[in-house]
């Protein structure tokens, strides 16, 4: 794992509250998020709550606003310590993020906290550049990353666009019963 060197730092957020994670077929998961004001109190509270909820959810490396029931363009990601992580930006929350460049697509199998019964085969870029705004300051930042963090960021940006991995699965044999973890 390589800690990424950036010209920006994630602002310190207030302590968050754990929110309930919703599951498919809750319609909020299929609702594209609307843009937020990153400096607004609602966004700052949501950002803190996403990090707090993610931290108490086992194996969870990212969480989008839709997964806690609100259709807004905000998500958190933290792949620190994950075995597959290469480049790592630590715990971060981004608002109004979009993909600027996605290359080197590779097929993988992903699961999602909001789709507990299944995993799915899909191709995601392993080289990624995204742009988004930091909560609190609203600063626009660009993140260049790879590997597992790239996959996680694409998964979360999809959530904020109202898409689940089920919407991108490779074919009729691409959905599998989720294995149980000991």
């Amino acid at each position: 794992m390589t800690a990424a060197v950036t010209a920006w730092a994630m602002p310190e957020l207030p302590a968050g509250t754990v929110r309930r994670v919703v599951r498919a077929p809750d319609p909020v998961l299929s609702t594209p998020g609307i843009d937020v004001d990153p400096t607004g109190s609602v966004t700052i509270e949501l950002a803190a709550d996403l990090l707090a909820t993610q931290a108490v959810s086992p194996g969870c490396v990212g969480l989008a606003a839709q997964q806690v029931g609100v259709a807004l363009r905000v998500f958190s990601v933290d792949v620190s310590g994950h075995a597959k992580t290469r480049t790592c930006h630590g715990a971060l929350v981004l608002c109004n993020a979009e993909v600027a460049s996605a290359t080197r697509r590779e097929r993988g199998r992903e699961g999602c906290l909001s789709v507990p019964d299944f995993t799915g085969d899909l191709a995601r870029a392993r080289r990624l550049v995204i742009r988004g705004q930091l909560p609190l300051t609203g600063e626009w930042v660009e993140i260049t990353t790879d590997g597992f963090e790239a996959v996680a960021l694409q998964h979360e940006i999809d959530h904020t666009d109202g898409l689940l991995f089920l919407d991108r699965v490779s074919g009729p044999h691409g959905i599998h019963p989720r294995r149980t973890y000991l």
Binding site: G59, K84, E110, C112, F148, F165, H176, P177, R179
Partner: protein, 182 residues
């Protein structure tokens, strides 16, 4: 059959297999007949095998297997499709444990490739959970997903698969499938 009559009987799972000449509309016709019986579809799979339509679906219904067969009879009356039904026990949705591996085999077609390869898999206690084979112009391709008993068992399985593949004159590749939980 009225809704009341259906509800009066105990619901059971009936496997419906449909084989025959492919044409547009088979799936729509079969599933419409099952919907008329208030059948609820569970898992299903369908593909073309060298151009022949092949489908298996599980339907949960209060109707008897004979009633399901009778409802589907018009679709098979002209002899282009063979439709069978069979009552199944409750699905054994055992927890999936043990690592998943992808198995890929390809080489010059000859009798016995699948038997030899899957014989090795069975001897190692690995379970085949998905399998497809295709015959091209002299080229035979097998892909399968295996559930192994343990991560350690992959080494012995891989070695014996390579031995079998060498005898058959085909290429074999066994590779782990990882789930990324996001």
């Amino acid at each position: 059959m009225s809704r009341d009559n259906v509800d009066a009987m105990r619901e059971q799972i009936i496997a419906v297999t449909v084989l025959g000449d492919d044409r547009p509309g088979i799936v729509a016709g079969v599933t419409a007949a099952l919907a008329d019986l208030h059948g609820n579809l569970e898992d299903s799979t369908m593909t073309l095998l060298r151009g022949h339509f092949a489908m298996v679906l599980l339907v949960r219904t209060g109707a008897s297997a004979a009633a399901v067969e009778a409802a589907l009879h018009p679709l098979s009356a002209n002899g282009s499709l063979v439709i069978n039904t069979r009552v199944l026990g409750e699905p054994a949705l055992g927890q999936i444990r043990g690592p998943s591996y992808a198995l890929r085999v390809h080489g010059a077609d000859r009798p016995g490739i699948v038997a030899a390869i899957t014989g090795v898999v069975a001897r190692h206690g690995a379970n085949i959970v998905d399998l497809g084979t295709r015959l091209g112009d002299g080229l035979y391709v097998l892909t399968a997903e295996l559930q192994l008993t343990s991560e350690a068992s992959a080494v012995g399985l891989d070695a014996e698969l390579r031995g079998a593949a060498e005898e058959l004159g085909v290429d074999v590749r066994l590779s782990p499938i990882d789930d990324d939980l996001l």
